[in-house]
Symmetry: C2
Subunit: 339 residues, 2 copies
Amino acid sequence: MSTQSPRRKRATVHDVAIEAGVSRGTVSRVVNGERYVSDEARAAIEAAIVKVGYVPNTAARNLVMQRTQAVAFIVHEPGPLFVEDPNIGEILLGANATLSAADYQMTILVVDSERDTERVARFLRGGFVDGLIMVSARTDDPITRVIEQLELPAAFVGHPPGLTAAWVGIDNRGSARAVTERLVATGRRHIGMIAAALDRDSGVDRLQGFTDALGDRFRSDLVESVPLYSYSAGVDGMRALLARRPEIDGVFAASDAVAAGAIEALREAGRSIPDDVGVVGFDDSAWARRTHPGLSTVRQPAAGLGRAAAESVLAQLGGEQPLVDGIMVETAIVWRESA
Amino acid sequence: MSTQSPRRKRATVHDVAIEAGVSRGTVSRVVNGERYVSDEARAAIEAAIVKVGYVPNTAARNLVMQRTQAVAFIVHEPGPLFVEDPNIGEILLGANATLSAADYQMTILVVDSERDTERVARFLRGGFVDGLIMVSARTDDPITRVIEQLELPAAFVGHPPGLTAAWVGIDNRGSARAVTERLVATGRRHIGMIAAALDRDSGVDRLQGFTDALGDRFRSDLVESVPLYSYSAGVDGMRALLARRPEIDGVFAASDAVAAGAIEALREAGRSIPDDVGVVGFDDSAWARRTHPGLSTVRQPAAGLGRAAAESVLAQLGGEQPLVDGIMVETAIVWRESA
DNA sequence: TTGTACGCGTTATCAC
DNA sequence: GTGATAACGCGTACAA
């Protein structure tokens, strides 16, 4: 009467061997495409494999081979932002393309709670993956510390201060400086910034680049700091800036999403862009092409970052020492109408 | 002279046993928190564990336990769209929350090429996961067919025609009908639709709901079909509709991203919203709050879908039979200014 | 070219 | 309470 699950036991090498009338060793050789197998044995085994429906058990193979052909891609964003950040998707696809070409399975792990942190740590330590890529690490991150202890080939995208592992990134500071200089060059007198994510290297470096560009024109009350690279943070930041310094005529937003929010707030306030206020962003994400007017911004080669991170992990897997200085991927500035 | 990797061999249960002067069996009991271990033995073993730095090897455990405490979440979107679709992120977070609470590790797998399909199939068959959630399956999908053969507890989000596995979804047809009726009720005479993704159930059902609402007012040349739920597809679709039927005064876009694109095209054409043309969308994604005017749309409980899918997989893992009819999650209509 | 036997690191089942 | 010992499914020297 009990509705027992009818899932039959999976076929093993042993079953195939019996079916084909050979030994397990020979079956194993055929499965792994080795030489020194007679044609007749190979044929018999291949027939037996389909007949019994044999599929190699990866757990067993991992155990004896001591590797998994899998690399983790760890995402640690506060819930909703994961969804909003266009860069992560691009980085991820770039990394997957490179790993896939090398026949590695990329498994994305999202860390979204205290509980996740511990479970992911166990997962990584337990030999589920041969290496890992970590994106958007923060300085005070429990998971970041865990990873550093791990002795697993790793590559970070971005470099939290104090990190000793390999990393890839862009020159946030220089790029921020370059894009801000445009505002200076076009004669703006009161240039502000909506800084974001100052708990990460990217946020800090972009702010630093901004101050570099302004030199002694820098005024700290023209900087508003918001927690996240998000649209709504941009709206809030711009409103605050307008309230405090209504004469503002140029603004560097720490990301395109922030810039889009800022543009919305400027529109509310009746300012025209770029006539009243010039706006520049950062990322050249989909946001930049959808604002009115189009947003001048820094093109960040997100897919390239993913590829570079994957290559670093693969190199370490191949026995190479990680480059301690990190790898910089080139950016470019894209001029549109907003400044 | 060779820079040999200094990674020392990982400690095993065996090493702990020797260090603590007990047998492997007793160590295993302590590690798994079983009873019937003397306090002194437990203390000695716990000390030994930290001393030798023991961490359980998951591959070995999986092999003997025949389960992994991991569930795959498979995403199969054409590259860039993965990034654009806000629903996927929400679904993913909802699923992760539920799986995490049950102590399952969710591993996201992206299928982005032919090669990915095969590798993921091997991965799934190889015993890396105990179950899987599949999102945005398409009818003619190789990976979908592979999964159906798999005999692994699975739940689909959305239901491609002919699918026999468990699924969760929303009433796309009824919701599309309800939101379209608003256009009818407000006296629009020439109501069109930008249909999208007609290779999926969601795309087809939304179109069907639209025709339901219009009844004999339906005109096939007021429907434009675009391939993807994307912003740029919305721009193209609206332009085509305007060119063919300039008198159009209402439009149902198959998703908010499409609607945002449509609004952009209407703006180009100098039409005002909602005065000249009423627009409604679908999803209540972030797009809906960023258009001008705000978009009337269908709220899709994406996180709830993720949770429901995860619960289905967990139930199957617990031995229950999957519900063949699928599970519907409720939607709601959100009225804003666009219609 | 093929078969045998051992080891990978755990958990589970027994006796003790 | 505890300790042998047998699986779990596979790769691979080594012998034949």
